[in-house]
């Protein structure tokens, strides 16, 4: 692109701006607001909505600020009667075919259309409805609800699914006034090959895409006196939930979150970080096992690829089923926690596992799908013979998943004054965790946590510097060579790579698929930036949201005294008391799983 600067005029004032920038970028730099609906930096520049139009001197028509490049001498007017009338008319045209259900719309807090129509002074809809708004709600997915009657066809979801995630499960179907966002054959999104990553929900400017709420079910469990309801919270939740209550982006609110959960009535307030440490023990051991085998000339699948992101797991099952042997057999921390809560914890507390309800609070919509996978329900199998359970007694390891956003709403409904809550800590025995676990929430975190342990196991020496800067940061793909010197002096160089966002994952996967991958260990997170930017996180227009949440995560890591998983006393204890050692028979029974080939084409033929 042209990087020379150019001089332009905006509303009569001269500015010198980068020649490659758009009118929108130039205006934003100059502090001039231009409304947008369809535009999203780096994701969607289709120019479809038309709301951002401005007057450009000598241009035949109004110009779209979001996609029109500036040129030397350009004379722009952003606030003229013509511009205001055009924008207003466009909003009115949208509203003519929009349900206007703001009162019972779960997006009303964040809805950009509602806000724009207020900002532009739209006080009536002069136009009548010209199409039926009778598309049924799409409830086929356990993670996503689609109300396409509310869709304004901005295409942000289509583009994020295509450009960022490379999943391409949705596109526009039909033409003209009959256009709609659609899966193949207009199927439900749950019947299609969506990964449930929820990135589309995050970008939808209106209430057309929302998570499927499980709040009601959780309230029901909480008010059932026969149930012992435990809750686990993922690492990425504590750095984001504050935003739901108006706190600054990147607020670290672990203690308040624990306090709030306790006030909602949970019987045990635990931390997924505990099982994240467990994951490191299991995954690290699995990795070293495979690496040693390969170095010793035996057969084993390398690279090992992490498995804690269910959006990612569904993606590889659909698109690279041949690579499934490379994926670690470890369950995700959420599912490890569920299994442990209904076995180890149940035994320890003397509870009937049937009466334990395990709820998890996740930054993630894909976890809603994950907890329904039947092959993950190991606690039931564990108890089946011992308690003589029948098939109808079946229970899941994790009973319900709430996103960070849902927890925020639930606390509001429960009347919890979150901001003024005191700090409290998690309960024991599944509440203790390490810095290694908390960084799981950022891209590169699992890798860093694993390497902290792997290093010490291999070298039998303490890690000289705990922070591994090479695997941190928001780049989509990161690579590092980590030298490990064994006590006998031989050196292994562990080649590792990290991808976040499925589009980036695809790049690394292509290499694995065609046998050219140079890596030993790969971490993949479905969401760009990792879980801290998960599909269930608060929706926020701060462009640096990922960095801010990540820095809160690293801040918590540093504040913790124990920062390596294998040093976690409760982890040591659970191996002593229960699992014996990582990758033991029992660990395999409860903490590991297998995957399913789901070729998208074969699936669609049925």
């Amino acid at each position: 692109m042209d990087n020379k600067t150019v001089t332009i005029k905006i509303n009569g004032v001269e500015y010198t701006v980068d020649g490659g920038s758009t009118i929108l970028e130039a205006c934003r730099k100059a502090g001039i607001e231009i409304p947008t609906l369809c535009y999203m930096e780096d994701v969607c520049d289709e120019g479809s909505c038309g709301i951002c139009v401005v007057e450009v001197l000598k241009a035949r028509t109004l110009q779209r600020a979001c996609i029109t490049q500036v040129f030397e001498g350009m004379d722009i007017k952003t606030n003229t009667p013509k511009v205001r009338l055009a924008r207003k008319t466009i909003v009115e045209l949208i509203l003519a075919n929009h349900p206007k259900d703001c009162l019972n719309c779960s997006a009303s807090e964040i809805c950009e259309l509602r806000k724009i129509s207020y900002d532009l002074g739209v006080t009536e809809t002069p136009f009548e409805q010209t199409k039926e708004l009778d598309l049924p709600l799409d409830l086929t997915s356990p993670a996503i609800v689609r109300d396409l009657n509310k869709c304004i066809l901005c295409r942000r979801c289509v583009k994020v699914c295509e450009v960022v995630q490379s999943v391409n499960v949705i596109d526009i179907a039909g033409r003209g006034i009959n256009s709609r966002v659609s899966c193949f054959m207009d199927k439900g999104i749950g019947e299609s090959y969506c990964t449930n990553c929820g990135q589309c929900i995050k970008v939808c400017p209106v209430g057309a895409l929302t998570e499927k709420s499980d709040i009601g079910r959780v309230w029901d469990y909480l008010s059932d006196p026969t149930k012992h309801v435990v809750v686990q919270t993922a690492p990425a939740v504590r750095v984001a939930i504050g935003e739901e209550f108006g706190m600054p982006v990147g607020s670290l609110v672990t203690g308040q979150m624990a306090a709030g959960l306790r006030r909602l009535g949970f019987n045990g307030v635990f931390d997924t970080d505990f099982s994240a440490d467990l994951t490191i023990m299991e995954e690290g051991t699995e990795f070293l096992g495979r690496l040693t085998k390969v170095l010793g000339g035996e057969e084993a699948s390398l690279p090992v690829i992490t498995s804690c992101s269910p959006g990612w797991i569904k993606f590889i099952e659909h698109y690279y089923p041949k690579c499934l042997p490379n994926v670690s057999s470890c369950k995700s921390p959420q599912q490890m926690f569920g299994a442990v809560s209904k076995t180890y914890y149940a035994e320890k507390m003397g509870l009937d596992p049937r009466n334990i309800i395990c709820i998890s609070i996740m930054p993630c919509t894909a976890k809603k799908y994950e907890c329904l996978r039947p092959e993950l329900d190991d606690a039931f199998d564990h108890w089946k013979d011992k308690l003589m359970l029948k098939d109808e007694d079946h229970f899941q390891d994790v009973d319900a998943v709430l996103t960070t956003r849902e927890l925020g709403r639930m606390m509001k409904e429960g009347g919890i004054d979150f901001v003024n809550l005191p700090d409290e800590s998690f309960d024991s025995p599944l509440g203790e965790s390490t810095g290694a676990a908390v960084i799981f929430g950022a891209t590169g975190g699992v890798m860093e946590a694993a390497l902290r342990t792997v290093y010490e196991v291999v070298t039998e020496k303490p890690l000289p510097k705990i922070e591994l800067e090479a695997v941190r940061g928001m780049q989509g793909i990161k690579k590092a060579d980590v030298p490990l010197v064994k006590p006998d002096g031989t050196e292994i160089v562990a080649k590792v790579a990290i991808a976040s966002g499925l589009g980036n994952a695809r790049v690394l996967l292509e290499e694995v698929n065609n046998g050219t991958s140079p890596y030993h260990f790969i971490e993949i997170m479905a969401c760009p930036g990792g879980c801290l930017n998960g599909g269930g996180q608060p929706i926020c227009d701060d462009p640096n949201v990922c960095e801010k949440r990540a820095s809160a995560i690293y801040q918590q890591d540093e504040a913790l005294t124990i920062r390596k998983s294998h040093d976690n006393p409760e982890i040591k204890k659970i191996y002593e008391d229960y699992f014996e050692k990582p990758n033991s028979h029992k660990a395999h029974e409860l903490l590991h799983t297998h995957y399913i080939e789901r070729d998208i084409y074969e699936q669609e033929k049925e």
Partner: protein
């Protein structure tokens, strides 16, 4: 070559074939043989003769210059005996214009098609040669321009010649063709595309079809010349899926070119190579827009792309791409043969050459014509169209298709050229002239146009997707008698927003006839709204009122 005393041309365009022209051709050959004239009289299938509008088969006899129409199988024997054997013209069979008395002198083909008003350069061969024979095209000086260019001219000088001619694109926008070629040439290869836009979807436009059915080689030659000039390596003819006959004839033309070394590797023994194939559309008017067309060839939804980048720098598969209309390409051979300066002797300042128009609606004669720029609208209607049908009064003309403009009788003296038309907020557009007589209702016409655009909007951008639907709804209400006084302002507001903010020219021009109608025929809209009557008696408004008879 054998010498024939007389040539009989049988129209074999879509419409004539439907009317049975194949059978007429066979019968003619049989009868001529029976009469023993097969060495004197030659039967040639050809493109449209311009007489097929009423489901009739027409034949032309040269050099006698007589058109017989309608010709039935039963009359073939008489033609052979009377005309060919005895040399007597059968007056009763010579084509008379409908609803109009035409003297015998007027019945020669030249007069009937008003060759003095028309000027046939692009259509020179249409109705004269067999479009399926490359020999006949070559005999009519075909591929002479290509030979000249390849042997005597550099690509740059071809472009110079085009620039001298000041030919402007015939696809609608009127962009200078030579300039477009010049922009395309310097962009780096190795692959560069030349695309012929043969989507012809604008309602009321069928002039490109006339070329493709009647003289496909002319367009192909133009494309090869363009490829030579801009450095094109691969060509596509993007043609609408409904044009089966055109597709067949073009395919035959392409096959023949490959056979004769006019396409493929080392054309005419030079270093220049160019491949060409046909790509059929699948029913989407928007695919006539060049970037939507490119998306369509790429196997995508035919939605327009943002510009820049323009196709000459990044088009098909991101490669430099030249897109021109069928008629634009068909102009090229003559320009190369006779020179750009010669071309400028035709037409008027700023609008040189001839232009094809599709003539239709309430006229005595309908079909495709070729006129030099500068001819007035009135002259076309009166002389070539032989006036309004049934001696009715002219109400208005829609010029340039549904996205064109509305001309009223007071503007008939306007010459057809870019400058004069722009003075009345019009343009030649796709080249269609739709004549409406006094019995037509303007609300009904606008509604019909709006329905077209609602159906054809790609749906990508809000103003066009929602605006067209909204306009349709409002016009429907008005035509049913439910219109409100404020509806006209609403229509204007939507129309203006569409013109100002639509993503591509489809949405920008969709409301242009409506906006002009609201100005020029406002009273008629108001009659529907205020008085609940449709002055022309077309809208169903009248029935609505009758329903209220219960008291």
């Amino acid at each position: 070559m054998k010498f024939y005393r007389t040539h009989v041309l049988v129209a074999q365009d879509t419409k004539s074939i439907l009317a049975g022209s194949k059978r007429i051709e066979e019968t003619l050959i049989e009868e001529i043989k029976l009469a023993g004239l097969e060495n004197e009289i030659r039967v040639i299938p050809t493109g449209s003769l311009g007489y097929s509008e009423n489901n009739q088969v027409a034949i032309a006899i040269y050099p006698d210059n007589i058109i017989y129409a309608p010709v039935l199988t039963s009359s073939v024997k008489e033609i052979v005996e009377e005309h060919f054997l005895k040399g007597r013209i059968i007056k009763a069979l010579a084509h008379p214009m409908k609803h109009k008395e035409i003297s015998m002198e007027e019945r020669t083909s030249e007069n009937q098609l008003n060759i003095d008003v028309q000027k046939r350069i692009i259509l020179k061969n249409v109705g004269q040669i067999n479009p399926e024979s490359i020999h006949e095209y070559i005999a009519a000086d075909g591929y002479m321009a290509l030979e000249k260019a390849l042997s005597e001219m550099t690509p740059e000088s071809v472009i110079e010649e085009m620039k001298t001619s000041e030919l402007r694109g015939r696809g609608g926008a009127g962009f200078p063709t030579g300039l477009k070629w010049q922009f395309t040439r310097p962009n780096p290869g190795p692959t560069k595309y030349v695309i012929c836009n043969a989507d012809e979807g604008e309602p009321g436009t069928f002039k490109d079809r006339e070329i493709m059915e009647g003289d496909p080689h002319k367009m192909v030659e133009g494309m090869i010349l363009a490829a030579y000039a801009v450095g094109g390596t691969d060509g596509y003819i993007y043609i609408r899926g409904e044009y089966n006959l055109s597709i067949n004839r073009l395919q035959k033309a392409i096959d023949a070119c490959y056979e004769y070394g006019l396409l493929g590797k080392n054309i005419l023994g030079t270093d220049f190579s160019f491949d060409l194939c046909i790509h059929t559309g699948a029913g989407a008017y928007i695919c006539g827009e060049e970037t939507a067309l490119i998306n369509s060839i790429e196997g995508k939804r035919g939605e327009p792309r943002k510009k820049p980048p323009y196709p000459p720098s990044q088009g098909l598969w991101q490669k430099p791409t030249l897109v021109n209309n069928v008629e634009t390409f068909a102009n090229v051979p003559a320009i190369i043969n006779h020179g750009g300066e010669w071309y400028k002797t035709l037409g008027v300042e700023g609008s040189y050459g001839t232009k094809l128009f599709s003539l239709m609606g309430d006229l005595n004669w309908k079909g495709t014509i070729e006129i030099p720029f500068g001819t007035t609208i009135g002259k076309i209607v009166d002389t070539i169209g032989h006036g309004v049908r049934y001696d009715r009064v002219l109400k208005g003309i829609i010029l340039g298709g549904s996205s064109g403009s509305l001309i009223v009788p007071g503007e008939l003296n306007t010459p057809i050229d870019f400058q004069s038309l722009s003075r009345i907020e019009a343009g030649p557009g796709s080249g269609s002239i739709l004549v409406m007589d006094e019995t037509r209702c303007i609300v009904d016409i606008c509604l019909n146009i709006a329905e077209f655009f609602r159906h054809e909007s790609c749906g990508k951008c809000t103003p066009c997707r929602e605006g067209n639907a909204q306009i349709c709804h409002l016009l429907e209400m008005i035509s049913y008698g439910y219109g409100l006084p404020e509806d006209l302002e609403k229509l204007e507001r939507i129309a203006n927003t569409m013109m100002e903010t639509s993503f591509c020219p489809l949405g920008q021009t969709a409301p242009s006839v409506l906006l002009q109608a609201l100005k020029k025929f406002r009273g008629e809209f108001l009659a529907h709204i205020d008085e609940n009557i449709c002055p022309a008696g077309v809208c169903e408004i009248n029935f609505v009122e009758e329903e209220c008879s219960c008291g």
